[in-house]
């Protein structure tokens, strides 16, 4: 379903991704782990089409379409969804208005009629309950004054609403307490579907207790240096990244 071939990318002239190769089949969940600065977040930004990053080589196909030819919003409409690590605030724009605009942009792309306000409200309330967000959040400004955990739940809520083909979750577990982690994980598990693939980017293994991936990849210096099953994550948890010949201060300090 998703095929990444020899992907190279840089930001402000600095090379970050040095040839990523990854194949993901429909229905699969892949976890990407790795130390700080290994290129995990860059990969997610490049897949979503952030123009701050330059792709210098490689190809990315989603269901046969070359994503790299598409603008950010076109990728989104083809089903690419990125749950941001640090979702930005948009003052004055209500969550509801924002999401309805997004949903209708998707629907228009798929030649469907706009969803009217009442219908949408109903749907939005349902999914917000699914991630344990008070529907009152829908009326607040996008991410405006949300706590860290609320922002993350809001991201997952959007994924449930937009029903993507490829969901990329960038450190969705960071900054969450145990209860919130459970809620977010339940949301992600609800996203698992035979026609959808999910990439989870995480630093720690604890998220993977709740969402068991089909594959785990270790990223270092912009390359996948090791791939394995869910057990690989446990091994990393126990041994750190050192045994793979990479330094990681964050893990070393634990």
């Amino acid at each position: 379903m998703l095929s990444i071939k020899n992907l190279h990318a840089c930001v402000e002239g600095k090379q970050i991704l040095n040839g990523i190769n990854l194949e993901i089949k429909a229905g699969e969940v892949h976890a990407i782990m790795g130390p700080n600065g290994s290129g995990k977040s860059t990969l997610s930004q490049v897949l979503a089409g952030n123009e701050a990053f330059d792709v210098t080589a490689g190809e990315v196909f989603l269901n046969g379409d070359n994503l790299l030819d598409l603008a950010t919003e076109e990728r989104a409409r083809e089903g690419v969804f990125l749950a941001f690590q640090y979702p930005v605030e948009i003052p004055g724009v209500s969550n509801l208005q924002f999401l309805r605009t997004a949903v209708n942009a998707m629907r228009k792309h798929h030649s469907k009629e706009d969803m009217n306000a009442a219908e949408f409200m109903k749907l939005a309330k349902e999914v917000s309950k699914q991630v344990d967000l008070d529907p009152a959040f829908l009326k607040r400004g996008v991410n405006e004054g949300f706590s860290g955990g609320e922002k993350k739940r809001n991201e997952i809520m959007q994924a449930l609403l937009l029903q993507p083909k490829l969901a990329i979750l960038d450190e969705t577990d960071s900054g969450l307490d145990i209860d919130a982690l459970k809620v977010v994980s339940d949301g992600v598990n609800a996203l698992r579907a035979p026609d959808r693939c999910i990439i989870m980017i995480t630093h720690y293994q604890r998220l993977l207790d709740h969402i068991v991936p089909d594959y785990v990849h270790v990223l270092a210096d912009g390359k996948i240096i090791k791939s394995g099953s869910a057990e690989l994550a446990l091994e990393l948890e126990a041994k750190g990244y050192g045994w793979l010949g990479i330094k990681d201060e964050a893990v070393a300090n634990q």
């Binding site: 979503a48 089409g49 952030n50 123009e51 701050a52 598409l70 603008a71 950010t72 919003e73 076109e74 990728r75 989104a76 409409r77 690419v80 969804f81 990125l82 941001f84 979702p87 930005v88 948009i90 003052p91 004055g92 724009v93 209500s94 208005q97 924002f98 999401l99 605009t101 997004a102 942009a105 998707m106 792309h109 400004g141 996008v142 959007q158 937009l162």
Partner: protein, 482 residues
């Protein structure tokens, strides 16, 4: 994806949508200004003698005055003798007695503008006075207003029917020689709206005036006078459009509001005069004096403006808070794009005890435009316990535009408190990326973010205006995403 690109192109191509010219026969004065022109104008309008004297006095003062240069705007000198000071649609000698007698071409014009004047298509609950070039062409809903005792008519008609009322209040808020453009207006104004709300009456309808400049080489100089008697309330809406023409046209209006004890006026403007094209050619010079005198105790005036049009805007709707406990509010969105220039803000003059004022200004600059907030908050010695809060926010879209803030704050009363805050921001790349990642078009994302930025002001507008204002921003911002 070709369709999407095409949509964007279509959107950007969309132009000022009120730019058509109405083919209509007009009576238009030869360009030029003199005492004779003023006499002719006054005579044509069959004005009472005092009015002619008043105009001539203004004209003589105007001749001695100099065009102000302090505003942060730059434009070639206006050639006042190249302008025609009167243009009116030709029509039967007598005034039309009902809308059926109004020239059908004119009615179609207003239909095109989305302002149906015809009885059966009228906006529910909004009475409209339509001013076309120099004259008022139609006023709707006269009957229910009369029943409530509300006077809503062209000011030329008021001069015939209620000369004493007009004489008493005209120029009482904006004196004839208040400033250069107000003096010019006082000398040559041709029409405008007059409103009187009697004691204790809550005006049963929203009142609305739509201004349209149609003829070429003419200026529009309308004069609006609203008197809210004790304990009355009125909500007044004002909109304006003009054809696309290559030369600049002058609009120099004066609006005076008078509020007696416990009266309340809510005055909303959506200003969409032709802004000129994307190279800065053409457009309206909008030099407007608007002022409210809260003469009565506990009176309250609220100015809400959405300024998206005009090549140059020079406008400072002000409040003189004379009555104790009176309240002044100013909510403004000013958007400039391409080569537009705006220098706009407000003056809050606190004279009475416990007077309060609030200023919320949102300036958006795009393209190569310049957008300045200029404001004065003044507490006189008698303004015991007075308060002001001011918030000025600027949003920049692109790195070729300017956003400026020039607030004057003056206090002579130790118990008065003023708080002023200003910030500047841009539509961030992160915000754009988030929106686009969720599938939203860049143009739509910008318009959504800008609308969010303006939310505090839009919520002050009457419902139907708020929708219009939002759409207007969207249209005005087209092509701003590079």
């Amino acid at each position: 994806m070709a369709t999407t690109d095409q949509e964007v192109r279509e959107l950007i191509k969309r132009e000022y949508e009120h730019g058509f010219v109405t083919e209509i026969e007009s009576d238009t004065f030869e360009p030029g200004l003199s005492e004779d022109v003023i006499r002719r104008l006054s005579n044509l309008k069959q004005e009472p003698e005092f009015m002619l004297e008043w105009r001539l006095k203004a004209y003589r003062r105007w001749l001695e005055m100099e065009e102000p240069e302090w505003a942060h705007v730059d434009y070639p000198k206006v050639k006042y003798n190249d302008i025609s000071y009167y243009s009116a649609p030709k029509r039967p000698e007598d005034m039309p007695q009902s809308l059926d007698e109004v020239d059908p071409e004119l009615l179609r014009t207003y239909e095109k503008l989305g302002i149906p004047l015809h009885e059966r298509a009228k906006l529910a609950g909004v009475a409209v006075d339509a001013v076309f070039d120099s004259v008022s062409v139609a006023t709707t809903f006269k009957e229910p207003l009369e029943k409530a005792g509300v006077i809503f008519c062209p000011i030329s008609e008021a001069l015939q029917k209620y000369p004493e009322l007009v004489k008493k209040y005209l120029g009482s808020v904006v004196p004839v020689a208040d400033n250069y453009f107000a003096a010019l207006n006082s000398a040559v104004f041709s029409d405008g709206s007059f409103v009187y709300i009697p004691k204790g009456v809550r005006c049963p309808l929203e009142l609305s005036t739509y201004f349209r400049i149609n003829a070429a080489n003419t200026g529009q100089f309308e004069r609006t006078l609203i008197i809210a008697d004790e304990g009355s309330y009125v909500s007044y809406l004002e909109g304006c459009t003009a054809p696309m023409r290559d030369e600049n046209q002058l609009h120099a209006a004066v609006v005076e509001l008078v509020l007696l004890d416990d009266a309340q006026i809510k005055y909303s403007t959506v200003q969409n005069w032709y802004p000129g094209d994307e190279t800065g050619k053409g457009g309206i010079y909008n030099f407007v004096t608007k002022r409210a005198a809260c003469n009565g105790k506990n009176s309250k005036v609220s100015w809400t403006q959405v300024e998206t049009g005009s090549a140059i805007t020079w406008k400072y709707p002000s409040c003189i808070l004379r009555g104790d406990n009176s309240v002044g509010e100013f909510y403004s969105v000013a958007l400039t794009h391409n080569y537009q220039q705006a220098d706009t803000g407000t003056k809050m003059i606190h004279l009475g005890k416990n007077t309060r004022s609030t200023v919320i200004s949102k300036g958006i600059s795009a393209g190569r435009s310049s957008n300045a907030y200029r404001g004065l908050v003044k507490f006189n010695p008698g303004a015991e316990g007075a308060r002001n809060f001011t918030q000025c926010d600027s949003l920049l879209i692109g790195d070729r535009c300017g956003a400026h803030t020039f607030p004057y704050i003056e206090s002579k009363n130790k118990s008065a408190i003023v708080e002023h805050e200003a910030t500047t921001s841009k539509v961030s790349e992160e915000q754009m990326f988030l929106c686009r990642q969720r599938g939203i078009e860049p143009e739509q994302a910008v318009s959504m973010i800008v609308n969010g930025f303006c939310k505090e002001v839009f919520k002050e507008l009457p419902m139907e205006f708020a929708v219009e204002a939002g759409k207007l921003l969207e249209v005005s911002l087209e092509g701003s995403v590079g």
